[in-house]
Symmetry: C2
Subunit: 505 residues, 2 copies
């Protein structure tokens, strides 16, 4: 029940959170707390807000303003201990009856719902002992004013502390954890956890490192259309769109457009964008919409020129993450413990037949031209890790039979192809190949695959006016993030995942 | 008609382009030319290919290998002059009967179809006089070997020289230019022109500068889903997708997801990705799919904090383009002459009512709450340019009535709103606003707009657990590229444009 609004230095405010209201007149601190009216850009106050991560011993005894969320609050007699949170950082704040705070003000502070956003003025004080559970362990904030900027509803759909609890701990101690659907249904809350903040800051870093590296190597970023007129790769697993009075499809990959850019002399191109797959796969690593980091590059004489560039790009990403995102990696590790990601320089490249030989030696029965099953991929990842001590490697020279029609056959053994996959912790994160740049051979291979030539006419025609030899590949961003961090479900690394059963939020 | 393949230092080859074939046995240069067999990564020759742009006087008398396209060829007695092209650069190459070249070899070279890709070994020679029409004016290449790497078909759907001719020149001299549909239908060829190469290198630069600036400002890159379950902004102009047994929509903007990220404490986010609009608009500036550069940011007290960040980001882009892409700007200017782009620092910000007043002074009749028509936008752009000498400005405080339901009303005048557009050369390139972060007000405004609350429940619920005040905006990449370069159609700055009538290539 709002009382009459007080007016202080801040914007207009009332007293909503304090349900057992005291008459404001009796309260010597009545200007020092309250619920601000909605910030509608009424004014431009001359007030500097300090970041919580910057509140250290150096700021001791300074008066500062901070905006943060109420992470927890605990009233204790004439005192109320708050933990204020800002992204991955938090600090303890104390509201105690005294010169600046009345008992009404302490009660008000204690009654603010968790996750509400508050502006707090306080004095930074050195803590008598390390404050466990806060990132700012050496200082606390002695609150002099507190105003609610945005009030959260009292019942949260999930508790942040539960959402960051390691599963093992939850199981052993019988403490609550949060299941995946609850997280995803309430993604706005779930994304506030330190783990989620770290995951998606690191993912932003992967994109940045990918592009930085490629721009430095002379690549050009391209934008390829997602609405296309024909299902490029045979028509399976493609989403249909109504397009005015006709219909169209969602691109399953930017590959054909990347190749057209190569035929148009851009030489080295990359793109970052959504990729759509109408596969009814409900696994830990499939999404119907994911982010593709795509590369295509003309080469001089051998597609290994391209393989080396892609592998080096991955290595630069791994190194950059180690250097710039150590805090985030450690934050995620607290909830999801995992071995540090290992890689070699230069990257290990095995031929497919070597991989098959390793698997056979381990007891797997498979033919020379069989594709790798998911369990065999994982097993091979373990065998490679044991033998070479790397979590990242390339498998080269896949059987032609298991690759798309546009894959260049091997010049020596026509059952093989100039194609490759790259793996992280035993799971595929990139698939690529030398592409056929000769329209005649491309036509033959398409026919061999039973593809309607009429539907890919524009594609084949792209190669009729001089086409350089070229190769490329596509990387799944969510998989790279998941596997680098040793997570177990791609939905953890997609902010708003899409699968056959989930379209919201 | 292929002759028996000769074998030299290069890969296997035959003599296809030379139709009036001489018996190879009579030809002392027979190993020095031919059509290479398709590059299938047969070998990794130890050969360094030099970039055409690096062929300068410093390399005089060196023997080099170059890969390029046959841009033009002209036979003249015992000589053949070729222009070899590599992206925006080209050089003259001479094949002349002598020690290295036989008359058959000259004939072979003269008969290679334009746009074919060749490997050439030659001696760099200082030119006796500047070579007009080539970027490398001081040197030419005396060819010793020439092999076709990829043969173009003899009839090109358009001529590159026609495609870069300024329209004025074409009209005055009656020389050919290429119309837009021919260009777009044959985009792989059209993108090879120096103008297209420059346009899309610069566009890649805009993306890079946008992200560089924002990462430096502490923003995080996010990835938002494009397939969504409900048409967020009322249901008009949205593409429908079949989604397994149900249906879904293509996102008209990432805005709701950007806002969710703000509610999830990411504080400052950006994304670059496709945006879909099912508008049946066939204008010079509308596409059904374009690339949005989107920003959303929590602010402390006033949305101008965000406006200033966005405006500064644009200024950093303009400056970066001036510094890093001068060559590209000049290349485009040759075909499309245009005044250099002017901007102020800090950016000019006018209120909507000031803009309306300027228009009225110029004779336009319009109400205070009318939206700006496209002609009035352009007129206002000219008036602003005259008065303030800037091609970039912000129009702030739009009438609430012409903005979406989630726009924050102005705190003083409820007919106005905390919203803004940004303009380049008199055309809108960004639309943005402070968003309503209070679920109650958001509900009221949605109802006022007649929006089905059930459909936006998840959106409104995002604000129920503490939401910081925030603002943002979305920039159209193709428009920024077009207007910065002074081009006249957004299809010139979309590699593979999509409009109601075009879905290919």
């Amino acid at each position: 029940m709002p009382s009459a609004a007080g007016r202080g230095q801040g914007p207009e405010r009332d007293r909503r959170p304090d349900s057992g209201e005291q008459p404001a007149a009796d309260d010597y601190a009545k200007e020092r707390y309250g619920v601000s009216s909605m910030i509608q850009s009424q004014e431009k106050p001359d007030r500097v807000l300090i970041r919580i991560k910057d509140l250290t011993e150096e700021k001791a005894d300074e008066v500062v303003w901070v905006r943060g969320r109420i992470h927890t609050s605990r009233a204790k007699g004439k005192q109320c201990f708050l933990v204020l949170r800002q992204q991955q950082f938090n600090i303890q704040a104390l509201v105690a009856v005294g010169q600046h705070a009345s008992k009404q003000m302490v009660k008000f502070a204690a009654n603010i719902n968790k996750e509400s956003i508050v502006d707090v003025e306080g004095v930074v004080r050195k803590a008598h002992q390390k404050i466990g559970g806060c990132t700012q362990q050496d200082v606390e904030l002695h609150v002099q004013r507190i105003y609610v900027i945005s009030l959260a509803e009292p019942r949260l759909p999930l508790q942040l502390d539960d959402a960051v609890r390691p599963e093992v701990e939850g199981e052993e101690d019988g403490r609550a954890t949060v299941n995946q659907d609850t997280r995803l249904d309430n993604r706005v809350i779930d994304l506030r956890t330190s783990t989620s903040q770290a995951v998606f800051c690191l993912q932003s870093g992967i994109c940045q490192l990918f592009r930085e590296t490629l721009i430095r190597k002379g690549f050009v970023e391209i934008q390829t259309p997602k609405i296309i007129s024909a299902a490029s790769e045979g028509g399976a697993n493609v989403f249909t769109v109504s397009y005015f009075k006709s219909s169209a499809y969602l691109a399953q990959s930017p590959q054909l457009y990347k190749q057209m850019c190569i035929c148009a002399d851009f030489e080295k191109v990359f793109c970052v964008g959504p990729v759509f797959r109408a596969e009814d796969s409900n696994t830990h690593r499939h999404l119907t919409e994911f982010v593709g980091l795509d590369i295509e590059m003309a080469f001089n004489y051998h597609y290994h020129e391209v393989v080396d560039e892609i592998a080096d790009t991955m290595v630069q990403i791994f190194k950059g993450l180690q250097e710039r995102f150590q805090t985030e990696i450690q934050t995620v590790n607290k909830q999801f413990p995992c071995e540090p990601f290992k890689f070699l320089e230069p990257t290990l490249r095995l031929e497919y037949r070597e991989g098959v030989a390793m698997l056979r030696e381990a007891g797997v029965e498979m033919g020379d031209e069989d594709d790798l099953s998911t369990p065999n991929e994982k097993l091979l990842g373990r065998l490679v890790k044991e033998k070479y001590d790397t979590d990242f490697y390339i498998l080269d020279k896949y059987p032609l039979a298991v690759r798309p029609f546009y894959t260049m056959p091997d010049p020596v053994n026509p059952k093989n192809s100039n194609s490759y996959d790259m793996f992280m912790r035993g799971e595929e994160i990139l698939s690529g190949a030398q592409r056929i740049h000769d329209p005649q051979l491309l036509t033959e291979r398409a026919q061999h695959h039973g593809i309607d030539l009429e539907k890919i006419k524009a594609y084949i025609d792209s190669f009729r006016f001089g086409a350089p030899p070229h190769a490329g590949g596509g990387i799944g961003l969510e998989r790279v993030t998941m596997l680098y961090l040793g997570l177990h479900n791609v939905r953890q690394t997609s902010m708003f995942p899409r699968d056959p059963k989930r379209l919201t939020p």
